[in-house]
């Protein structure tokens, strides 16, 4: 026990001796958490439209006004031809081209049918698709208004109607920060928790000081605990800073209990420290450790459900996502913060992350014995 305490003192001294590392551990996550959620909003809105109006009639002007007055669309301007409008799209000044044909009003009234052209920039498929669908539904709405004027459709039609109403639960204001802040906090915590450990151990390997520890009477488990405990504690500090920022800067107060968040974080950090430890048994240089860390981090972030829904991925990718510990913590964070989920609701997550923690740590320790 005494040996462990000395080791811990040594580790803390080593970590805090480098002021740059302290800044990276505590300041960088705080700054990123303060700034980045502001930018993380992928709702489809602010869709820019260029209009090619060949008709210049009353109706065409009304239609343009109807689209412009909606919340989704902003008018980039008018173009004389499709080619000119396409230039707007090419320069990313416009997302959608609405082409109103010559004789739009005349055909609508006389032939009862007229065709409009919508061309959407679909490089970003979701934005293009949803934007075009919104535009089409606005045109349909306008169409109904015109029809009311002309045909004097009876207001209460004999056709059966399903009246659809709805509401948004857990986030009625549709606040993106509420959604993103817990997720980004998890990512930052993960980076601090796991990669500091692996880099720290590999550093001892690279400089050869690990040999000195190996010939000392310190046991392996003491050495490993000495490496894990400091970063485990640092993880809690980062989490606390993060939750404080969430509260002060974004006014996010968890619906559920703080205790549950910390309890889950305790298990989660253990799993990630295990991953870090494992990494350090394989990597020989800090460079290698960092590249593997980078690779894992990209996969963990992009496949953690932070902003791309896991349900929409192909089957094999969903398997990867289910093996991704980050996705569980993000889910738990959001559940506790926004829905007030209890420990019973998150039992499955606890079991899986607990299993991962055991698995990675055992693997790392077994591997550690063999290699060093």
């Amino acid at each position: 026990m005494r040996k462990l305490i000395f080791l811990l003192i040594k580790e803390f001294q080593q970590i805090f001796r480098n002021p740059a590392i302290i800044r990276i551990i505590f300041v960088m996550p705080a700054v990123q958490l303060l700034v980045l959620p502001l930018a993380a909003d992928y709702e489809v809105k602010n869709v820019y439209v260029t209009v090619v109006d060949h008709d210049h009639s009353d109706y065409s002007r009304q239609l343009i006004e109807h689209i412009r007055s909606s919340n989704y669309f902003l008018l980039t301007g008018y173009a004389d031809s499709y080619q000119a409008a396409l230039k707007d799209v090419e320069d990313d000044r416009s997302d959608i081209i609405l082409e109103i044909p010559d004789g739009f009003e005349r055909d609508l009234v006389r032939d009862d049918e007229v065709t409009l052209n919508l061309s959407a920039n679909a490089v970003n498929g979701a934005k293009g698709g949803i934007g075009a669908a919104y535009a089409a539904s606005l045109i349909r709405q306008f169409n109904n208004e015109i029809r009311m004027d002309w045909a004097q459709l009876p207001r209460y039609s004999p056709i059966a109607m399903i009246e659809v109403t709805g509401s948004n639960w857990f986030n009625p204001d549709m606040d993106y920060a509420l959604f993103m802040v817990p997720g980004i906090l998890v990512i930052l915590l993960t980076m601090v928790g796991s990669f500091l450990t692996s880099i720290n151990i590999v550093y001892e390997k690279e400089t050869g000081t690990i040999e000195q520890i190996n010939v000392s009477p310190i046991r392996k488990y003491q050495f490993i605990l000495g490496k894990l405990i400091p970063f485990w504690l640092i993880g809690f500090v980062v989490l606390t800073i993060g939750l404080a920022i969430a509260r002060l800067a974004y006014g996010i107060i968890p619906e559920g209990s703080f205790g549950l968040i910390y309890l889950f974080a305790a298990v989660y950090l253990l799993a990630f420290l295990g991953i870090g430890l494992l990494l350090s048994t394989y990597a020989e240089t800090q460079q290698q450790a960092m590249f593997i860390a980078f690779f894992l981090m990209m996969v963990f972030i992009l496949m953690g459900g932070l902003y791309t829904s896991i349900d929409s991925m192909p089957e094999w990718a969903q398997v990867i996502a289910r093996l991704n510990p980050v996705s569980y913590f993000i889910e738990v964070m959001r559940m506790v913060v926004m829905k007030g989920s209890t420990i019973a609701d998150t039992g499955r997550h606890f079991a899986i992350i607990g299993g991962m923690a055991v698995f990675f740590n055992v693997w790392a320790i077994v591997n550690y014995r063999k290699r060093i």
Binding site: P172, L188, M191, I199
Partner: protein, 384 residues
Amino acid sequence: MRCSASWPEAPSEVNNMKQFRTFVYKEFLHIIRDPKSLLIIMALPIVQIIIFGFALTNEIKNADIGILVTEPDEATRQLTERLDASRYFNLALVTDDMAEAEQAFRRDKIKLLVVFEPDFAHKLEHEHVAGLQLLADATDPNTATTLRNYAGAIIQDYQQEVWGEQVLPNRMEVETHMLYNPQLIGAYNFVPGVMGMIMLLISAMMTSIAIVREKELNTMEVILASPLKPFLLITSKAVPYVVLSLVNVSTILLISTTLLDLPIRGSLLLIYAESFLFISTAISLGLMISNITDKQQTALFISLMGLLLPTLILSGFMFPIENMPKPMQVLSNIVPTKWFFIIIKNLMIKGLGWESVWKQSLILLGMTFFFLAVSVRTFKRRLA
């Protein structure tokens, strides 16, 4: 060192060139001597492009939904079947108990709940109006809106099909064209973005270690004693990594076109030229980081922790820049991947030419010079 003979007089141009080549050779040796790192550097982009190219999509489908119905009848059954059959939804729960539905929400089992009012079919038939509620889990606001829209459209379709649509007068038909990406494939957007991220981070990380390692291992003293000018010294460090990164670009492009079926509509030569420019930006960023830090740990953490999330979030391929608040839009301008993302999108996917990317290229060029200038300056100061 061998070249110490040329110490007393000023080194001639020829000598300089020779020394430069020797230094480049030395850097290559460093890289080749560590095959594990080399393998990681080469394999990493391949694996990432494949995984993300196939897996990432911001389309929403297969969302788990629940149905709350107290008195099931023909109409509610048909509607439930239709919702389940659509590729957007996956029926995960049918219940008559609101408490159970609420628990399913809390446990993240369903994203949308469809609530039928009692006596649904009867009301629809006789009173011509029947109520239906869509309750969405708005934890993710975008998903909530999209799911409600999808469900609304399916219900509308059902209503029209089953209850007949009269031929209405004054019809406005809308013909929709999806430019550049008619099948709305996610990879068209994500591959250029991921490509920029991978290249920036790998190049910056590789290079940032290069100089710090020499500092940490004290071999820097030896190098400083050589007569090579700081600028050439720094460039000699960068050359091998430029070569490696260009190889990476080639594999990424190869995989994108063969496996992921991405088009290369613009000029391949220009894409390579722009990639070269972007790599130079990334590498000079790495050089700058390595010049202002003393330890590999610090350098690596700055390049990984400092670059990863900001480039991911601010480069515009995940979150549209026009959605950001003004200050964030301004801030996004300093992220090099933002400009590279626009360039690659324009060249590869839109098939545009030089006239569409010259502004972005100039910005990247400016950034490169800035990073290099800072590197050379901090380097000189250490010489003194």
